[in-house]
């Protein structure tokens, strides 16, 4: 009787997780294996893939070094710029803001993240493009200012696109901060500045780590922002991948780059988790 009930329970459990398990296997695990196989293959003469086992694709990676350098330089720089803008906002929302308006102010930060990144990046293309600010500048006599297709434009787009994602985890860690610690610090004679650097900042570090890791990881795979605001002059790994897959149809080389990108993401993730564990326990972040 008991055994029968156990069997039935196991069957129900299996039935519940089966569709997701199948989906994860067919559309996540298998594609990764396929990508790995492709990365060790050769390009067919007409493009696409040809069966082989060679390390040639990985040996070829240095030819795309520029894309890797741009990504590895601009992704962390962008994340740090985000952090500089995000921290004061998160601090204000969690500590200073009037509780009556807090929810609305937080919503106003989250909502842009869930609206089309394409449209939000397009907005800056519109503003920085020749009919936008440069046109206004030429009206007051400043001619030939180029804003689009510069590293600055890409960084601006990055801060604009990923600011909400940086603010949220920091806000959450600051909001959960025990106010009595701040009072205790003040009672013991600490000035607000030393309370901030001695108590508030260290306790919000897990949020800061989560935000920096999250934004950096997403930026490593960014395509749209460098494509639209960098205009082919400032390109990321993502742009090299689109070029290799959809233009020159060199799938094995593209797969090798994609595999390398995943390796970089995993390394960043592991370093971030290491630091996060050392700083404090991990906290869950509401992204919605």
């Amino acid at each position: 009787m008991r055994a029968a009930m156990n069997t039935k329970r196991n069957l129900v459990t299996a039935a519940l997780v089966a569709p997701a398990a199948a989906w994860l296997t067919v559309f996540l695990v298998l594609p990764f294996i396929a990508m790995l196989v492709f990365a060790f293959g050769e390009r067919a003469p007409e493009g696409g893939y040809q069966v082989a086992f060679t390390f040639a694709q990985f040996a070829n990676l240095p030819t795309r070094a520029a894309a890797f350098w741009n990504t590895l330089l601009l992704a962390p720089t962008g994340a740090l710029l985000c952090l500089i803008v995000a921290y004061p906002v998160a601090y204000y929302l969690a500590v200073k803001a009037n509780p009556r308006y807090r929810l609305i102010l937080v919503s106003l930060v989250v909502v842009p993240f869930w609206t089309s990144l394409l449209v939000r990046t397009y907005a800056w293309m519109y503003i920085l493009g020749s009919r936008g600010i440069p046109n206004l500048l030429s009206m007051i006599g400043i001619e030939d200012v180029r804003m689009l297709n510069t590293p600055g434009a890409v960084l601006l787009g990055i801060v604009y696109g990923y600011l909400p994602l940086m603010i949220m985890p920091i806000y959450v860690s600051l909001e959960r901060l025990d106010r009595r610690l701040l009072e205790a610090s003040a009672d013991l004679g600490a000035k607000p500045v030393s309370t901030f650097f001695g108590v508030t900042l260290p306790l919000s570090l897990p949020g800061v780590m989560t935000g920096v890791a999250l934004v950096t990881i997403l930026l490593l795979g960014e395509y749209l922002i460098p494509q639209l605001l960098g205009g082919g002059k400032v390109f990321f790994i993502g742009n090299a991948l689109v070029d290799l897959f959809l233009q020159s149809r060199n799938w094995p080389f593209g797969s090798a780059i994609a595999v390398t990108l995943v390796a970089v993401v995993v390394v960043v993730l592991m370093v971030a988790m290491r630091i996060a564990w050392r700083v404090a326990g991990t906290r869950q972040v509401d992204l919605v």
């Binding site: 067919v26 696409g48 989250v110 089309s116 449209v119 600011l163 991948l241 994609a258």
Partner: protein, 272 residues
């Protein structure tokens, strides 16, 4: 400090507002507003390519979000009954589905599907009795599959968090009163997790509707709205794109605001 905060909010919203404003501009210039007009909307909506891209996007977003809502919820319910090792495996795979960059998901799905098709299509052709064997290819199915992956992970994450905050006692009380597990689920558990499922569905819909990079790889000859917008932007910035962008913004705004209201309800209820 307040001045800084205000300027950040201005920074977040002014560019979007500008796009919306200039979608109503009679002229073509981005630097001067020459008069109010809805002509660009009329032009956009009479564009058959645009309308069919919109239709494709809606079909794909609805299907992938619905599949994700059902299967993601089932997974969330099933996962807590699994052994801790299996649960950790599911958690890791779902996390991977969310963290792996979209560009990699797109590529991996593309190479896997093309490899499968190159094997399956000749097989079907050899076995097919008629003259015109069906051919599998990229299209609706591949986009729905790839979007469904991220969305399922998203729904599972949201619903799992909700289940974790549910009181066990009420479920136990229900079974003590001789309710079958199915009745308990229908009357006790489902009503409490429904807002989270709906919120997950709406977020999944929003994700799919706005995604460009995954669809770009696996769409084959199908065009989704973001792919259409991207292609138009490359041909040149026009106020017509502003009009389309405004429509996309309004759609995502409605979806995300509804999702937030649903999630809020959940939070205030669980706070009791």
């Amino acid at each position: 400090m307040r001045a800084f905060i205000s300027s950040v909010y201005l920074f977040l919203y002014a560019p979007i507002a500008l796009v919306v404003l200039f979608s109503f501009n009679a002229g073509r210039n981005a630097s001067e507003f020459t008069g109010f007009s809805t002509a660009w909307y009329a032009k956009a909506l009479s564009n058959t390519f645009l309308v069919s891209a919109l239709q494709n996007s809606l079909i794909i977003a609805f299907t992938s979000a619905a599949l994700a809502a059902v299967f993601g919820t089932m997974a969330a319910l099933g996962m807590e009954r699994l052994s801790s090792r299996m649960r950790a495996l599911f958690d890791a795979l779902f996390a991977a589905a969310i963290v792996v960059p979209g560009v990699v998901i797109g590529i991996a799905t593309l190479v896997a599907l093309v490899a499968v098709f190159s094997f399956v299509n000749p097989t079907i052709a050899a076995l097919w009795p008629g003259d015109q064997p069906p051919r599998l290819g990229l299209g609706y199915g591949s986009i729905i599959a790839a979007h469904g992956l991220f969305s399922m992970a998203l729904v599972a994450m949201i619903v799992k968090a909700r289940i974790a905050s549910l009181g066990r006692d009420i479920v136990e009380a229900s079974s003590d009163l001789y309710a079958t597990p199915l009745t308990t689920f229908r009357l006790i558990v489902l009503p409490q997790i429904l807002p989270s499922i709906l919120a997950g569905f709406l977020l999944a819909f929003t994700f799919s509707f706005d995604d460009f990079i995954i669809a770009f790889f696996v769409a084959g000859s199908k065009t989704t709205l973001p792919i259409y917008v991207f292609a138009s932007i490359r041909r040149g910035v026009t106020p017509e794109i502003n009009a389309i962008a405004t429509l996309v913004l309004v759609a995502s705004l409605l979806l995300i605001l509804t999702a937030r209201v649903l999630m809020r309800e959940k939070k205030s209820k669980s706070g009791e």
